[in-house]
Amino acid sequence: MRKFVLRYLIPRIIQYLTLIFVGITLTYIIPRLAPTNPVEAQVSMMIARGSSLDPDAIEAMRAALTELYGLSGSPVEQYFAFWSRLFRGDLGPSLGNFPTPVSEMIGQALPYTLRLLIPALIISWIFGNFFGALSSYYPENKALNVVEVLGQVVRSIPYYIVAIVLLVVFSYFIPIFPFSGAYPIGTRPDWSSLDFILTYLEHSVLPAATLILVGFGGWFVGMKSLTSNIISEDYVVYAEIVGLKKRNILVQYIMRTAMLPQLTALAMSLGTVFSGALIMEVVFGYPGVGSLAIRAVYSNDYSMIMGITIYSIIGVATAVFLIDLLYPLFDPRVRYQ
């Protein structure tokens, strides 16, 4: 047990902290490398766009910006101030929706993203791995070969394009699914009404399908190449010589072991998948973090972009850490060293 803590747990915790540290430090450094003075640029942009803010509000905004960019004091002080604000969960006010706090707006959008992302991720991981292993174990099966070609195609194309293709096909040419949003414009989210939940689900079909399709392709291809290696491992050859049933071999000998590197791969790919989800939201106008981000870009809402970046880093790092913590449950080689 001590060995486990020393060799497995502590390195993971260190990695978790490094991840957050490097990520946050990057978001701290990047604005400082920008050639223009961000505060004045922001303020003048706001004024130029003819915001009907009174001088007091502009002053407040300037102060907020200086505070937000952490431009008071020496660089070291600024850096510490930056961290201490983070620990308080204070990401400053949104500049596009002044003065609503950034964290509040992200808090509203995040559930939409997660409700879509998490089930899609789990579904695509399970099915992609399952069919990938199947197709590697039964290389002659025609249906599986077709699935493989589809997987290869979808996997190679960027998320954005897959989303557009689905959108064009299923809401423009064959209009079975709604164009955009998570619910019709003008409806208020009402989680107690069945009708609302149904339209919500209907609106989520295409976004979810995009995520699942792309994820499925990736896991399928990955699992297939993993499995084709595992099939020639001694213990699988042995199980075949022993005369075990094919299904038994596939599930207990092949999938069981191939699942482990795929679990690690899941952790490694979370960042990418999350990025993909943001893009997909933009295409479908889905009111999650991705749409929030693009609105922030259009309205020059610097603090919002900053906040989303920081949230994403912490969120992804935590998810990776959780998977790392769960991993030993599945792999006895890590559990008993």
Binding site: D234, Y235, V242, T257, L260
Partner: protein, 330 residues
């Protein structure tokens, strides 16, 4: 009565990739018999076709391996099996593990790394006999393990927690759950250190003495053959060079290749250096004509370069394939 008779077996690897086809003549015209209650050895340098021979007789013929010619017939107490004709299903249901079990080369890694050892026993027993009473199964397995001198703890361990020798013993225990008629052991001691080797070999010998079945022991290590086997064959480049009781092989080797193998064994108290044979075993994708040993043979004659020597019986139970020997000439 024979347990297994192999006649004129030819098994090649045939592959084609990027327009280049390649044929490896791994087993080229082999005939031999196995009898009940004996330990039969197969010796020869690496890549001389030993493993391929086992693959064919244990019914694991998979692309790119292909049997071109010959027969492999078993007789398990009256239950006749033609290994080259039997359906995959019948093979799995009636023959595998019940009649023929296998201790694989590199047995160290035959155990599923993410499951406890007992699970592998469970899979095997469930597949071949079914488990109705879990408790009884556990008792029987424990008894089996103890009979072979293994501690009960190994059943609840994961493979990586066991030493190499222990894993090898577990593999042997797995091979003997049903008291099969034939146990094939492919290089069972190769990766082990000498002390552990001894233990594993003893275990194989004890099991054979106990259940009176047949063990086919394949290894390149002549010392193992000398200690364990009753009869043995020497393979060279996909063919049998010599076959005889182990005692005759070691006391009166006939084939120049056998003589070379035995002469290269170190002996206690000896001080001279060993002369080694020039050259290396031929590439089986393009073997030399005539006797495949002729490029390395110290007694090479003209005839050896063109004519393939027959495997002739020179004494009782002693066969050799060499132009130096004709039927009953010794």
């Amino acid at each position: 009565m024979t347990l297994l008779s192999v006649r004129n077996l030819r098994a090649y690897y045939q592959t084609e990739a990027y327009g280049i086809s390649r044929t490896v003549q791994a087993v080229d015209g082999i005939s031999f018999d196995l009898f009940p209650n004996e330990i039969y050895g197969v010796a020869g340098e690496s890549s001389c076709g030993k493993t391929t021979l086992i693959k064919v007789i244990s019914g694991n013929i998979k692309h790119p391996l292909k049997v071109l010619e010959g027969s492999v017939i078993y007789n398990f107490n009256g239950y006749q099996v033609d290994m080259l004709q039997i359906s995959e299903d019948e093979l799995r249901r009636n023959v595998r593990w019940k009649q023929i079990s296998y201790v694989m080369q590199g047995s160290m890694s035959v155990l599923n790394p993410v499951r406890k050892v007992i699970k592998t026993f469970e899979d095997i027993v469930r597949t071949h006999e079914g488990i109705t009473d879990k408790k009884k199964f556990l008792e029987q397995t424990r008894a089996h393990i103890n009979r072979l001198g293994l501690p009960t703890d190994v059943l609840n361990a994961y493979p990586h927690q066991l030493s190499g020798g222990m894993r090898q013993r577990v593999a042997i225990a797995l091979a003997t759950v049903f008291q099969p008629a034939l146990i094939i052991a492919d290089e069972p001691t190769t990766a082990l250190d000498v002390v552990v080797q001894r233990g594993v070999l003893h275990m194989i010998k004890d099991i054979q003495a106990m259940s009176k079945n047949t063990v086919l022991l394949v290894t390149h290590d002549m010392a193992v053959h000398a200690n364990v086997t009753d009869r043995m064959m020497i393979m060279y480049a996909g063919r049998i060079a010599e076959e005889a009781p182990t005692e005759s092989i070691f006391n009166a080797p006939l084939h120049p290749y056998t003589q070379h193998l035995i002469n290269s064994l170190p002996m206690i108290g000896e001080k001279t250096t060993r002369t080694s044979l020039g050259g290396s075993p031929p590439n089986l994708a393009n073997p030399p004509g005539g006797c495949r040993f002729h490029p390395r043979c110290p007694h090479v004659m003209d005839e050896c370069r063109t004519v393939v020597p027959d495997l002739v019986t020179v004494k009782e139970r002693h066969r050799v394939a060499c132009h130096l020997f004709k039927e009953d000439s010794v």
